[in-house]
């Protein structure tokens, strides 16, 4: 039953429609690029073009509205039907999608987007600039309650220049914009869409089209033969609801389900021992012990450093997640990956921890820690292990294990001293952390820390598009976060994909995206 839901995959973006040659340039700046629209090449060996690919999911999508979907099952289903202006390729670089090319003015305050030609929605209507303006305006409108509205915070106006060109006026340079635009939550919908229609009958530009849905049982989509990119390999997809991950594994074993994404490392380990093909992919999501530096003993940086030094992150990984993952620093995206050892205590050092604690002058420190149960598989075991380790330092974690609803309520209200959390990572570090650690960020209260230094660094990072420069800037951000032990980053885990015999072409993605389903075939 426990719905292993990944929180905060909002704004986590999709993967490029891999397979054949899509000329890629990092679309940050000048010359655009063309996506290949050559007709589908020969698919994976033996793939049956008339087959229905069955995808196992543990719960029904809780929304068919791409602007509101955060639950990962909903995101996976909707990714097959919708596109955004940009997308990620398999190396998580930003590449064109519905936007064929884009140019940014010298002062960074205007972005001109040229739309791809010949794109149609599932109902046959053509994509034009009016649809883009409609979508972006709607996302910014508070009444829509779109989850990614903050990604467009820097966009002041959207203007239609001509049916194939849209101009975005920004309040200031935003280097993360192209990356943020790649999210499912910023999908382009037709301007005739209304709340009622797109929640019941999704109408997008993606490689698949909505066919039908039986609540709590399945969602079916079929190949879009008018798709602008590579046509899907399978004729139909059926997302089948099977509530237990272990039951999904049984179904994959018997060939009833062709492919499924598993989150629980324990299930995955058992599955691979039972001869089910499992591919594991490092994920962008990170497991972290969040500390609220505005509360109690944690206001003292020495206490926080004591906590940092008292935890052996590898041990947490090994005990809670069976070693399935890697120890991590703040940034998890490959292009900006943090050095997990760039911190005051790269490994556990109880003596140093005790020193820090002594420096703080506090003894018998008690930290109330909230832990969710059922949200994801490893939370309770991580909490237990961290608690056991910190005991040796003289810090006592008072664990409050609570059910998802209660946990979310406290987390959202920042009503905690510490929290064991699994947060969504993003390819762009500004997208991942600016809303937490900028003093005006909408999640800053939850983050519990801000400083003028961080504000400045993030502003710099946003203002320049030069990759090398940005890398340096975010390294400094990492340093600040780790040296002040703002949070204790623990590890990143793996995402697991189980495939049955005869399935080929699927490329798993660190963001957990299932866009690669378009390239997947079954014999």
């Amino acid at each position: 039953m426990s719905q292993i839901r990944m929180r905060a995959l909002a704004g986590v973006v999709g993967l490029g429609l891999a397979l054949s040659a899509c000329a890629t340039t990092t679309g940050t700046g000048s010359a655009g690029s063309t996506g290949s629209s050559a007709p589908g090449t020969a698919g994976p060996a033996g793939a049956n073009p008339n087959a229905t690919l069955v995808v196992g999911i543990t719960t029904d999508p809780n929304s068919l509205n791409p602007w509101k979907a955060t639950q990962f099952q909903a995101v996976n289903v909707l990714e097959t039907m919708y596109n955004s202006l940009t997308q990620f390729d398999k190396d998580l670089k930003v590449v064109p999608s519905l936007a064929e090319s884009w140019t940014t003015a010298a002062d960074g305050k205007t972005v001109t987007v040229k739309l791809r030609q010949g794109v149609t929605f599932a109902d046959g209507s053509a994509l034009d600039a009016a649809d883009v303006k409609f979508s972006l305006d709607k996302i910014k409108d508070p009444a829509t309650a779109a989850v990614a509205a903050a990604s467009l915070a820097s966009v002041t106006t959207v203007t239609v220049k001509d049916p194939a060109t849209v101009e975005l006026t920004l309040s200031g340079p935003d280097a993360a914009l192209a990356s943020n635009l790649a999210s499912l939550n910023l999908s382009i919908l037709p301007s005739e869409a209304t709340d009622a229609t797109y929640a019941t009958a999704p109408n997008g530009t993606g490689p698949f089209q909505f066919v039908s849905r039986v609540p709590n049982q399945s969602v079916s989509v079929k190949r879009n033969d008018a798709y602008w990119g590579d046509k899907a390999k399978a004729a139909k997809l059926e997302f089948r609801v099977i509530p237990e991950e272990s039951a999904i594994v049984s179904a994959v074993q018997s060939g009833n389900v062709h492919i499924a994404s598993l989150k629980d490392p324990l299930v995955a380990k058992t599955a691979s021992a039972s001869n089910v093909t499992i591919v594991k992919t490092p994920q962008l999501n990170y497991h972290v012990l969040q500390l609220n530096a505005t509360k109690g003993a944690l206001t003292d940086v020495n206490v926080r450093l004591a906590i940092q030094c008292g935890i052996d992150r590898k041990q947490v990984l090994d005990t809670a997640a069976l070693g399935e993952g890697e120890v991590t620093g703040p940034n998890t995206s490959p292009a900006y990956k943090s050095d997990p050892n760039a911190r005051p205590c790269p490994t556990r050092d109880v003596a140093k921890a005790k020193d820090y604690l002594a420096k703080s002058g506090k003894t018998n420190v008690v930290v109330k820690t909230i832990v969710s149960q059922g949200e994801y598989a490893t939370s309770v075991n991580e909490a237990q292990n961290v608690q056991a380790q910190l005991k040796d330092v003289g810090i006592s974690l008072e664990l409050e294990v609570m059910e998802s609803g209660a946990y979310v309520k406290k987390w959202v209200a920042a009503d905690f001293e510490a929290a064991i959390a699994l947060n969504g990572g993003r390819p762009d570090p500004d997208g991942a952390y600016s809303r937490y650690f900028i003093s005006t960020g909408n999640l800053n209260k939850v983050a519990g820390y801000s400083s003028p230094a961080l504000d400045q660094l993030f502003a710099q990072g946003k203002a320049t598009t030069d990759y090398t420069a940005r890398k340096e800037i975010y390294k400094k951000v990492d340093a600040e976060l780790e040296n002040k032990a703002v949070w204790v980053w623990l590890f990143t885990g793996y995402g697991y994909t189980a495939t049955a015999k005869g399935v080929s072409g699927f490329e798993p993605n660190p963001t957990g995206s299932f866009r690669s389903l378009a390239a997947t075939g079954v014999s």
Binding site: E245, L266, T270, Q373
Partner: protein, 296 residues
Amino acid sequence: MSQPLDLPSAEASEPPLPPRRWWRGLLRTPSGIAGAVVMVVLLALSVTSWLGLTPYDPVAQNAAIRLQAPSGTHLFGTDLFGRDIFSRSVAGLANSVRVAVLAVAAAAFVGVLAGLLGGYFRGVTDAVSGGIANILFAFPPLLLALTLASVLQRTWVTVALAIAVVYVPIFYRVTRGPVLSLREREFVKAAVSTGQRPIETALRHVLPNVSGLVVVQIALSLSWAVLTEAALSFLGLGTPPPAPSLGSMIFEAKNTAVLAPWTLYAPGVVVVLLVAALNLVGDALRDVLDPREEGR
């Protein structure tokens, strides 16, 4: 309740007067003896857990000895986190016992009181208690328990109380029926005529005579309470981790059962033994205290 129940009628019925030293009746039949013996063994094990005397710490994890089959050092083997399953089963058993005892004690206390007062004093008290009992009865039992368990901050106490709410109506009905007829009996009328306060009559004369039925119901309810707690833990709504619960152990074992069957069967056998023993004891008691059911 995750097992079917025999619903007593709320109407008046003639209660037998319980024989003295009814617990001797327990030991009259082989099944009663078996049940009692198993109960004692399980209780002794629970006590070892409460005293912290289990062979290993039930929550201590040790990644090096994962999923080991039962052996000399680990009687029931180890689970996915290297925890000793025997110690965990004993701790889970102890947890089931205390949740069940608290749940049934609370339910019995409230239910019997309501049934006694409602049946004896009738009128508004009866109408109100009866109404509440009917409402609770109309809820599918497991759904009621899991909704309640979701409301409160979860500790073993609140889980027990959530289960108690489900069983209050049964104790109410078990008590009320006999009380209705008892109050017409000679000795009660005699007590009333001596000017004894009604509440005293109710407690001193009427209550002891329904005690037999209540005792039987307590024994039966204990087994249902154990099963309900396990079912709640299985659904993720029972005793919160890391305290082991037989139900959550079975839930976790779902994934490892294929590789390591002992992770599923150890807690499974313990829970079946506990419930079976409680049922046997309950039956034996019923034979003694409720001869209306003669012919069993």
